[in-house]
Every structure is written in C-alpha cells, then in structure tokens.
C-alpha cells in the first residue's frame, strides 16, 4: 500500500479505548481538529485512513467511489478472520450499487416505519414479560441478562421465525464473533455453525411455508427466481439475526445507564413520555456503539478533506468522532436528551444506513418508557466507572449492568 500524502506522524493506534462513557475525555478531538483525515493502525496491524469529521464521514459514506465489499483485499479489518467466509453468498452489507439495491429492496418493507409501528403492542408485551420476571427475581439483578439481551433477541426471533428456545446457541456465538480477541479459526468455526443452524431452518421453511420474514423471502424467491436460493436466504438470516440483537441490547444497557446517571433527565421523561423518541436519538448519538462498522475501501482515487485517498486503500468513517464534532452539534460532549432531532450518524449514512433502525428505535422507546413507568426506584448497584465496558468488541456496550429497585 503506498502512502499518498506524507503523514506528519507515525500512524495512531485505532480504536482508542472508551472505558466508562461518562468519563471519556472528548474522543478523537485532537485528531478531528489537527488531522481530520489521518493514517491509523488497526488492531489487526492493517493500515487505514481515519475520518474524524462529521462532514467527511457523511460524504464518504454517501460516495459510490467507496465500496462496502468486505471481500476486497485491503478492506479495514478489526479482528483476525473478520470476514473470513468469502465464498458464501454475500449479504447486502457487502454489496454495492444495483446489487445492493436489489438485495435491500427485497426486505425494506419488513422494516418500514408503519410495519414496525404495528409491532409495538407485541414488543410492549415482550418487554412487560421480562420486566415482570425481573421484578419477581432476586436483587440486585443483571439488567443485561434480564432485559437488554432477551428483548431484542425474542423480537427478532419472532420476526424472522427463529425458535427463541435456541437463543443460547446463537447468542453465545454472536458474542464470540463480536469479540476482537476471538482467534480467526474460532471465528470461522462459529460463523460456520451459525450458518449451518440457519441453513437448516431455511430448509425447514422451504419445505413447510411459514408467515414470517424468512417465509415471505422464500415466497419472494419462488415468485422472482423460480426457486428459493438457500445460500442467499441463509446469508440474510445470519445478517438479520446477528445485527438484530447485539446492537439494540447494548443500547438498552447504555441508555438505561444514561438515565440512571442523569436523574434530572430521567425525571423529565417520566413526566412526559412524548419526549422519549428524541431522547433515544440523543442516546444513539452520544453512545454511537457501532463506531467503525462504517468502513469502506476506495474504488478509485478520491480527494477528501484535502487528502488524496488512493484506489484500494481502506477508510474508516469514525462515527463516534463524527457524532462529537462541534461543527455539527452544539456542546457535543454533553448528553442532552432535549437536544431534538439531529443528523447523527449512529446508524451510518448513505445507502447502507441501518436497515433495522426503526425496529431498534421502537424497542428502545418501549423499554425506556416501561422501565421509567414500572420501576421508578431503579438504581445502579455498582459504581458506573467500574462496570465491564466492551472495549474488546466491535460493538461497544457493557457486559454486565447490576441494578436494584
């Protein structure tokens, strides 16, 4: 890989550890101010460009000269063997242009604002069920196991038509996929097991039609292709299942932590639940748990922020840094649940912006409204700085959140 603009310093190690979200010193502020397009070394030893300004991150993610094809040599990797399964049918997150558009359009309607709104009563039932169990159980309890993981997991299982009884099987494997320290061979084995599990499920649904997202995709394949494509359907199932629970789970934990850590803002939500949707937007901006999923590779030479990025070079659009850019947000280091609607990039930007974002929003809104209403004495049963934060994962969060009430 050739250096195209002489870097003034050795590449910085990336990502910076985050630790406690409320005690992090203005993440990436120095880079954003002094070298907004810089060279970094990733945990895998790979070199990449790092974009730290909101404007540049949005411009890059919307620019078709940057590819999302994770199979391309040089694509920024954060863990060994991260995209090792290169010979399988790629899912939409790996496709560009018209191929991406076709794959995404096949499922968009399942995640539209209206379709998700129609799921709200069932999501409320699910949340209430797990809150019932939490309140009936011993104190203190781990909110991650009691609520954060099971809610999105059960919701996505019901949507896809995956048996929830199997959640330990895919949850434990997803956790290992997301840990950066997981060795390449283990990562490959885990993803192969997950694929095998979901391929069997797809086969069962091909044999016996079901009325769920996967069942409807099978019908769509029959209508459009003549027969269901098992590999394509399995890749879609893996993507939706993995993306559908770990991300929202971390936001449930961190959002709850934010409310417990800012009791004045929690009281405002309790007094007026109509504020919750925009409060959730601010939580998404503030935590930006998927800060480097927004990585791409240049297909041709592109000038960005005064630097020429050469074809074949990797680029990380640092979403956390973008969301803390004071060019785009007033007082960006403050968590302000009254901030209103902003153009944060917590769900990414461009054609790949999160497909499940409206599902995530709805789950978060219902969880926070329910906790605030039903568990008014909820309190943290540990020191906020001592919690086990996920600094070793590709998705930020907290492994355990001890609470009492």
């Amino acid at each position: 890989m050739t250096e195209t603009s002489a870097p003034t310093t050795e590449p910085t190690a990336f990502p910076q550890p985050r630790g406690c979200p409320f005690h992090t010193e203005a993440p990436y502020r120095d880079l954003r101010e002094q070298q907004p397009v810089s060279r970094v070394t990733l945990p895998t030893g790979m070199r990449s460009w790092l974009l730290t300004r909101h404007e540049d991150v949005r411009a890059m993610l919307a620019d078709p000269r940057f590819s999302a094809d994770r199979r391309t040599p040089g694509f920024p990797l954060f863990a060994p063997g991260q995209f090792a399964v290169r010979d399988q049918a790629p899912s939409m997150i790996t496709l560009d242009g018209s191929e991406h558009s076709a794959a995404r359009r096949a499922v968009i309607s399942e995640f539209s604002v209206k379709r998700i709104a129609a799921l709200a009563p069932r999501i409320q039932e699910i949340v209430d069920g797990f809150v019932d169990d939490l309140l009936a159980g011993p104190k203190p309890a781990d909110l991650v196991r009691a609520l954060s993981l099971p809610v999105p997991s059960l919701v996505i299982c019901e949507m896809l038509g995956v048996p929830y009884e199997d959640h330990d099987y895919f949850q434990s494997r997803t956790t290992r996929l997301i840990k950066r320290a997981t060795p390449a061979e283990e990562r490959l084995r885990v993803i192969t097991e997950l694929r095998g599990y979901l391929a069997s499920l797809v086969d069962a649904k091909i044999a016996h039609p079901t009325d769920d997202v996967l069942g409807r995709q099978i019908e769509r394949h029959r209508a459009e292709r003549g027969a269901p494509d098992r590999e394509v359907l399995t890749s879609l199932a893996v993507l939706l299942l993995v993306a559908g629970h770990e991300t929202t789970a971390n936001m449930i934990s961190l959002g709850t932590l934010a409310l417990l850590n800012h009791p004045d803002q929690l009281e405002q939500l309790r007094a007026d639940p109509a504020r919750t949707p925009l409060a959730v937007e601010e939580m998404l901006r503030y935590f930006t748990i998927a800060e480097f999923v927004t990585s791409r590779i240049a297909l041709e030479d592109v000038e960005l922020g005064g630097v020429t990025i050469r074809a074949g070079e990797g680029v990380v659009g640092e979403a956390l840094s973008a969301n803390r850019d004071d060019r785009a947000f007033t007082d960006p280091e403050a968590l302000d649940l009254d901030r209103g609607r902003t153009n944060h990039v917590a769900f990414g930007f461009g054609p790949h912006q999160c497909l499940g974002q409206n599902l995530a929003r709805k789950e978060l809104q219902i969880v926070f409204d329910t906790l605030v209403r039903r568990v008014p004495t909820l309190a943290l049963a540990a020191d906020v700085v001592d919690l086990p934060y996920k600094d070793d994962a590709t998705i930020y969060g907290v492994y355990e959140l001890p609470v009492t009430w």
């Binding site: 359009r105 309607s109 769900f347 999160c354």
Partner: protein, 64 residues
C-alpha cells in the same frame, strides 16, 4: 419550495417519515411516497430537515 423524491434511489430508511409524517410516507414496498409536494410553514422546515437526514440522497429541494 417543492420537494422531489427519487424512488429509484430511496433505500427505505424511513428517516423522512419520522421527521415529517405529514409530508412523507412509505409505500407497501417501503419506498418513499410524497404526501405533500409543496409543504409550507412548519412542514416546510421539517421537510428541509428530512432532506438533510435522507441517507440515500433520494430527496431534494427545488426552490420556487
């Protein structure tokens, strides 16, 4: 001011519907549907925000 929506570019993220449901909707295919092509007042302001939030670039403003 008028709004233009390109359904060929839309990725169905739904940001516009969340921002101003009086101006934007999603069809059965999940793609954008314009309910009001020439919004005024507060709707026009919200529509401008929606254009900025649109991830795919499917929405644009045409100033009269």
């Amino acid at each position: 001011m008028r709004i233009k929506a390109d359904r060929g570019v839309c990725v169905g993220a739904g940001q516009c519907v969340l921002t101003e449901p009086a101006v934007f909707d999603q069809g059965d295919d999940g793609l954008v549907v314009l309910l009001d092509e020439a919004p005024e007042g507060a709707r026009a302001e919200a529509a401008r925000t929606a254009v900025d939030l649109c991830p795919s670039g499917a929405l644009s403003l045409v100033e009269d």
